[in-house]
């Protein structure tokens, strides 16, 4: 499976109810009113489902912004 950044942006923007271009690298947990703890949980759940990956116990607490999330998904998909 190829990593598709548009797909990730679209997924997150849908959950947070913002436009995809509003998602920046440093967007993340606590950085905007939409991206709160519930929003973050929804994003993690949706990513596991959509990209068919499983975040490890340590990984899941290390991904707190878009950049972290994107890099981790890329890594996990390449290592599959």
């Amino acid at each position: 499976m190829q990593f598709n950044e548009n797909k990730l942006k679209l997924l997150i923007s849908k959950i947070l109810k913002v436009k995809p271009n509003q998602i920046k690298n440093n967007s993340g947990l606590g950085q905007s009113s939409n991206w709160d703890s519930i929003g973050h949980l929804k994003i993690l759940l949706a990513i596991e489902q959509e990209f068919k990956i499983n975040f490890g116990d340590k990984e899941i607490i290390s991904i707190i912004n878009y950049r972290n999330i994107k890099n981790l998904i890329k890594k996990k998909i390449t290592n599959k």
């Binding site: 949980l41 929804k42 759940l45 596991e48 116990d57 899941i60």
Partner: protein, 553 residues
């Protein structure tokens, strides 16, 4: 369906919010919208006790009590477990006894046992669920059997230990999917999307193979593989019928072939032709036959499911009757039962005798309608039905049905105040305090219609106040409602009471009750928007002999 937003409140002790988008998406398919509200995680009981808390301000339409127990409970010693659970039972009791005072529909979830927990823990879980079930039944709360759904797919597939410890969110993707469906199903049930009728195809649905091509003796149905799947599907249909769902047959076959099939394969078939409340077996387009079935049974398409194995038939019916639910049967008959059970919306809790014999009621009604044509005068027709009205007062033996009547009757219902069986029971017990619960059962030569009418009255000095008057639609239009009103008049005159008032809350459905009171010379006083009082002075002239053709006992 209206565009009303349903206010749904969750009493919860865990993160539940990620479910809401999923539920909303399902609700939208039936044009329902919801706003979701939640209690705090750890103070739900205190919030319920505090009459100034959000739940009392919001006045939700529907409240789900959805509690979760941390799997770490298994690590506690027995004394600690006992303390925890006793506290938990107390909380459930406090929550239920306070919530029932609200005018909301309430629904409890049971709690699945932990996987691999020790025996002691499982006993506590069992007791918890027994308590939840008992409370739900007693108060006519909904009861969602989460445990059976979890056992079906496996605890590990349903629950996520990782997300539970990370965010107090206990579910995996499959759990989210199943929960969203069962919660939406329950909402649909409450908002009139209860399925009452299954319209069934024959070939490759009720039996394997095509009657016209394979011949009767080659059809797959019986004890052998794969016929056993069709036989079990028929067993499921019989079970659903017992729960009050009507069955009808809509098949592209000659009626004579179908009759021959049910005769000659009687031993293999579970269903009998008489199990179907309507049969359309011909070569006309299915949508025409479905419309005839709906008309005959006086049911709406939105409360019915058309079940067929052909995508062509499903699509062409859906095009003409879009509000009809359709279910395409899967390729493998081994999946039939699960497919139907997942799809059908039925309320299997608190079934009354009337629910169980609904199919028979429709058969009787069909006979009445046929009889009607024979008479040129309506009065003669009613006279010939030999209706007997059996009136009861303050009896506790029919509480479930009386509560159900208040909950299900929308048209002939003066206030549409819904009462749980517990509230009904309280009313009857308080009957000495000048409140009377009077109800009637009607029978005629074709059958027993069951309990169809209810009046809740209070007697204040020189007048009777009708707090609520309601009649099941299936009994209307045969003077039964008039005979019941006559009974009430006689009852008052015997007590030397001559004034009657009726509280009335007008809504878009109950105009029929409004017209009935006007027709019976009640005078209307408008209090405020949609709230009325109907008043009438009665005397012996109001006792109309015309209605004596209905024998009241």
């Amino acid at each position: 369906m209206s565009n009303k937003r349903i206010k749904i409140f969750f009493i919860r002790n865990f993160t539940i919010d990620p479910l809401f988008d999923h539920i909303q998406n399902i609700l939208k398919k039936k044009y329902l919208n919801a706003n979701f509200f939640v209690s705090s995680y750890d103070n739900a009981t205190i919030e319920v006790l505090n009459k100034n808390s959000e739940i009392y301000k919001i006045k939700p339409d529907l409240i789900f009590v959805f509690l979760n127990i941390d799997s770490d409970i298994d690590f506690l010693n027995n004394k600690e477990k006992s303390k925890f659970f006793n506290n938990f039972y107390k909380n459930i009791n406090i929550i239920s006894s306070n919530l029932k005072k609200l005018n909301s529909k309430i629904c409890f979830f049971n709690i699945p046992n932990l996987e691999n927990a020790d025996q002691e823990t499982n006993i506590f879980f069992r007791k918890t669920n027994e308590l939840i079930k008992k409370i739900s039944k007693k108060n006519s709360f909904g009861y969602l059997d989460l445990a059976s759904h979890v056992y079906k797919v496996g605890y590990d597939n349903f629950y996520s230990y990782k997300f539970w410890k990370l965010s107090m969110f206990p579910f995996k993707e499959l759990g989210i999917d199943i929960l969203s469906k069962i919660i939406s199903k329950h909402i649909f049930l409450l908002y009139g999307h209860q399925h009452k009728l299954l319209i069934l195809d024959g070939d490759n649905t009720l039996w394997g193979g095509i009657l016209g091509e394979d011949g009767i003796k080659n059809l797959k149905i019986g004890e052998n593989y794969p016929g056993v799947f069709y036989k079990n599907f028929q067993k499921l249909l019989v079970q659903l019928k017992k729960k009050g769902i009507l069955l009808s047959l809509c098949t592209k076959n000659n009626l004579s072939s179908i009759q021959e099939l049910f005769r000659s394969r009687k031993k293999d078939l579970i269903l009998k032709l008489s199990d179907f409340s309507a049969i359309q077996s011909n070569w006309k387009p299915k949508y025409q036959n479905i419309n005839l079935i709906l008309k005959k049974l006086n049911l709406s398409a939105k409360n019915s499911i058309f079940i067929d194995d052909s995508l062509f038939e499903i699509n062409s019916v859906k095009k003409i009757i879009p509000e009809l639910d359709t279910l395409l049967m899967p390729n493998n008959a081994s999946d039939f039962n699960r497919t139907l059970l997942d799809f059908v919306n039925i309320n299997s809790f608190n079934l009354t005798v009337e629910d169980k014999k609904r199919a028979q009621l429709y058969v009787d009604e069909d006979k009445r309608n046929k009889e009607k044509i024979k008479y040129s005068s309506f009065t003669n027709y009613v006279k010939n039905l030999k209706i007997i009205l059996n009136v009861n007062r303050n009896s506790t033996k029919d509480i479930e049905r009386l509560s159900q009547l208040t909950q299900k009757t929308n048209q002939f219902n003066t206030t549409t105040i819904r009462l749980s069986s517990d509230q009904m029971s309280q009313l009857i017990k308080n009957s000495k305090n000048n409140t009377d619960v009077i109800y009637c059962r009607a029978k005629d030569k074709f059958g027993d219609m069951g309990i169809i009418g209810l009046a809740i009255i209070s007697i204040c000095d020189d007048k009777v106040v009708l707090k609520n008057l309601l009649f099941s639609c299936r009994a209307l239009g045969r003077f039964i409602e008039n005979a019941f009103l006559q009974y009430l008049f006689k009852y008052m005159l015997n007590k030397n009471i001559f004034n009657i008032e009726c509280d009335f809350i007008l809504n878009k459905n109950n105009k029929i009750a409004y017209d009935f009171l006007i027709k019976n010379n009640f005078k209307l006083i408008n209090l405020k928007k949609n709230n009325y009082i109907f008043k009438k002075k009665i005397n012996k002239l109001d006792l109309d002999k015309k209605f004596n053709l209905i024998k009241t006992i």
